[in-house]
């Protein structure tokens, strides 16, 4: 099993109005990206609480990608400002707990930015692949 190639597990929280729509556009445009991601649709990136992210890491996610509307484009006016605050705080917290803060990534992707969505998922998956499994997966590594 240890010889099995490491396939990172990535969880995405995409806001309904921008990034989720951008992901749909990537599909319509048939842009290909690695299938390591699982997506949870949320109404706003501001809906994602620190607890949701921490739960993902607790459960063994290797990376968490949060996608929201560009600043000024938030469907709910300023939900994404909350997101910035929370994510930068969480990255600090992750560092403190020994998880590389780069495993949590925030990107603004609009409904028109299908190519950016595909590129972001590609780059993030590759980055996590290079980083290796999350340090919170001790059981697997012990085996």
């Amino acid at each position: 099993m240890s010889e099995k190639k490491f396939e990172p597990k990535i969880l995405g929280f995409f806001c309904n109005w921008c990034t989720y729509a951008g992901a749909d556009l990537a599909g319509v445009s048939r842009l290909q990206y690695p299938p390591n991601i699982r997506v949870i649709r949320v109404m706003c990136s501001g809906t994602v609480s620190p607890h949701h992210v921490l739960r993902a890491f607790q459960k063994g996610a290797d990376g968490v990608l949060i996608g929201g509307c560009h600043i000024g484009d938030c469907h709910y006016l300023r939900g994404n400002y909350m997101t910035i605050k929370r994510i930068s705080f969480l990255q600090e917290l992750l560092k403190f707990t020994g998880v590389e803060p780069g495993r949590l990534h925030l990107e603004w992707i609009s409904a028109a930015e299908g190519p950016k969505l595909a590129q972001t998922v590609r780059d993030f998956t590759e980055k996590i692949r290079k980083m290796g499994p999350s340090p919170l997966k001790p059981a697997k590594q012990a085996a």
Partner: protein, 940 residues
Amino acid sequence: MVGISGEPGNFSVSVREMARYIDMEKCIACGVCAEKCPKKVPDAFNEGLGTRKAAHLSYSQAVPPKYSIDKAQCLYFLKGGKCKACEKFCPTGAVDFSQADQDRDIPVGAVILAPGFKAFDPTQYSAYHYANYPNVITGMEFERILAAAGPFQGHLVRPSDHREPTKIAWLQCVGSRDLNHCDNSYCSAVCCMYAIKEAVIAKEHSHDPLDAAIFYMDMRTHGKEFEKYYWRAQDEQGIRFIRSRVHTVDPVPGTDDLAITYIREDGAINTEIFDLVVLSVGLETSPGAMKLAGTLGIDINSDRFAQTSSFTPVTTSKPGIYVCGAFQGPKDIPQSVMEASAASAAASELLAPVRFSLARKKPVFEERDVSQEEPRIGVFVCHCGINIAGTVNVPAVRDYAQTLPHVEFVEDTLFACSQDAQGLIKDRIREHNLNRVVVASCTPRTHEPTFQETIKEAGLNKYLFQMANIRDQGAWVHMNEPEAATQRAKDQVRMAIASAAFQPPLREFDLPVTKAGLVVGGGVAGMEAALGLADQGYQVHLVEKKDFLGGHARKLNQTWLGEPIKPYLDDLVEKVQNHSLIEVHLNSGVTNVKGFVGNFTSTIATEGREVDVDHGAVIIAIGAHSYKPQEYFYGENPRVMLSLELDQAFREKNPLLTEAKTVVFIQCVGSRIPERPYCSRVCCTHSVENAIQLKEMNPDMDVFILYRDLRTYGSRENLYKKAREKGVIFIRFDLENAPQVEQLADGRLKVMVRDPILGFPITLEADILGLASAIIVKEQERLAQLFKVPLTNDGFFLEAHMKLRPVDFATDGVFIAGLAHFPKPIDEAIAQAKAAAGRASVVLAQDAIRAGGVVAEIDADTCVGCQACVGVCPFGAIEYVPDEDVCEVNQALCKGCGTCAANCPSECITLFGFSHKQIYSQVDEALKELEEEMEEAAGA
């Protein structure tokens, strides 16, 4: 639209619907037709910079997302019946070459024209060589280059060699303010701003430091917050602004670069080489719109825009036909959106008596109470023809779903969205007593409403539904990895099922609406807004601080088109005072506000007496004031007058003015300075207008206008031209070299200014000094607090969205009109007032406001009253209840963003449909396999 007959309220319009050769009902927007179509054509949406197929979607976010076939390019039509590749491959049989254009007659009560504009074709500027050199492009082409969905995915490249440019020039006023190359004497009003925006974004997209230079005549950033943007572009982004009209663009031999030779203001001649030259092309009316105007018989003005008056800015010369947007005159998005609401309000006034007479009611379906049942979930997995099934193993996903908890029934369907599949889903719900439905297919963004409607018809609460997106975010993006795509589909289905199990039925409820409006401010904007509401049949309370109606318009003589204001104003005041539905409260103010959209109660205080009025919506139109300068001897010397005082001097034939030999105007007094970093928008036109009047009164009079940038935007430019023709002398100055004024012994004024072209100081002796002083807003904070609406740094009311919602606030039911929003001339204030009345009537026209659904709720038992949620709610929907020490969500105001739920430290806030439980369960399910692996590993 090919014809019209009848009269206002009862027109018949002939509409020609062009055949698209694809059945809209059957098209599922899978894109196979475009993929298989062999004919490539220049993509008009991308300004010809890329290609598309003859079978195409107009652009990637077209609504509705349905394909069409371009008859002029399609091989089937060109080659007489050959090809038909699209028909062969379309999975739903949507291609239909037998379609023909159809003429239909539609009965309508009113017509609104919004045909937009055509970008100027710069080919006729032969010295700019747009047609010859690939790296001379238009601003529209540059927009597409920068666009993420554009031909180069947003990479900044130039057309000739797809290399990233390091030096770009923008040339302003191409096809505007020009009677030599074209017939467009007017200013297109948007190009200065779009050039700055393009330069700023180009710098952001550029990998190397980009040298961006804008060549212009007058920098016209007269919109709300625009001046600050201009300053930032200059000071922070380092964009160069060069005041010069470029004569020629020359090629640089042996390269694709371009040389621009220009004369600086000081007379020096410079030559610079650029990689790319962007022509800031203006706006003009298209031949199609001109033809439409002919068909309808509406008047067109000398600039070839629809003829309107300042007092009825969205009404054409033909009753019952209204106009909005760039066909009314060149303008930007906020103004277009305002006019759109204004035009719909004008049409609503005409049609108010028959409101809802053609509306159809949705049938009501009885809802089964499932609250006491265990989840019984039905899962439907869609093949989408081969769109999903070509990559994802649909039967495997179906069989896998059967093994999951709470799943009672599974089935795969060819097209889940088809009529028969919808019927099937309804049957299965009844047969198997299902109480939740999960559909694994395309995206909830387009199809969730369809399926929700279906389960509603089968007696389920429409929220007992989840979708797993296994097409757009599955099969289509992992086309070469069928196994992994199938695994992802299984996971997404498992996540959707877990979330559905926790999904409760959601309640929607109706809140009654008080069909009355409150308008604060009795100036032109306030009165027009009040009249707009009353003419649609709603009771209005109009509150005015002073003891008369009319506001500052009483001090104005005429509009920029020369229409006298007094008769209009007298008529307006009379209509308002005599309207049976309008109650005017003079000497009054609003002192208290309770409630929310549809259900406000406000206290109006009139000379110490207070009354409470109920209303469903409010329009704030408190206007603005002129800045009283501390400088230039204003208030000390009677020869120094503000613009409005000059108007008064004209009215009263003040001998100081009528006998003056020299009049000097100073522009931007108090505007466009660090303390007040905005342009007051109306002052250039007002001074030019007054200067013309002076010249008409006494052609021998010397009239000087000292200005920084002359901002006679749109067709107002024609006034500037007229003033120059009449001999008014314009002298420019910079902020650093503002004019100096001294008083002479006889009371006249000595004005000293440095002429930037001559390069030395000029002294003028003025009999009258006109100061174009800033427009400022006062006493607005209290009202902003009462209605919980924000202000800009400059003190103006801040709307919900600067471009797209120019008269709304984020707080529902509260609207803005007139100068309290931003300085504007009377025609724009009237348009905005009509727009606000139109938007307010959207609230008032309803018998009830539907609330609930996906909204937040606070569990009072676990809430500790910390109020962390109150501050983060962008809509003011959460209030702290001190008596109970808890917070409460007003579900009528809640928009369902869930920011509060994420911020609540005790997780006592639930966003229905996206509850913490549902999100945690999705996280857990997404990573479940991993967890199992981890457990296994730990066990071993």
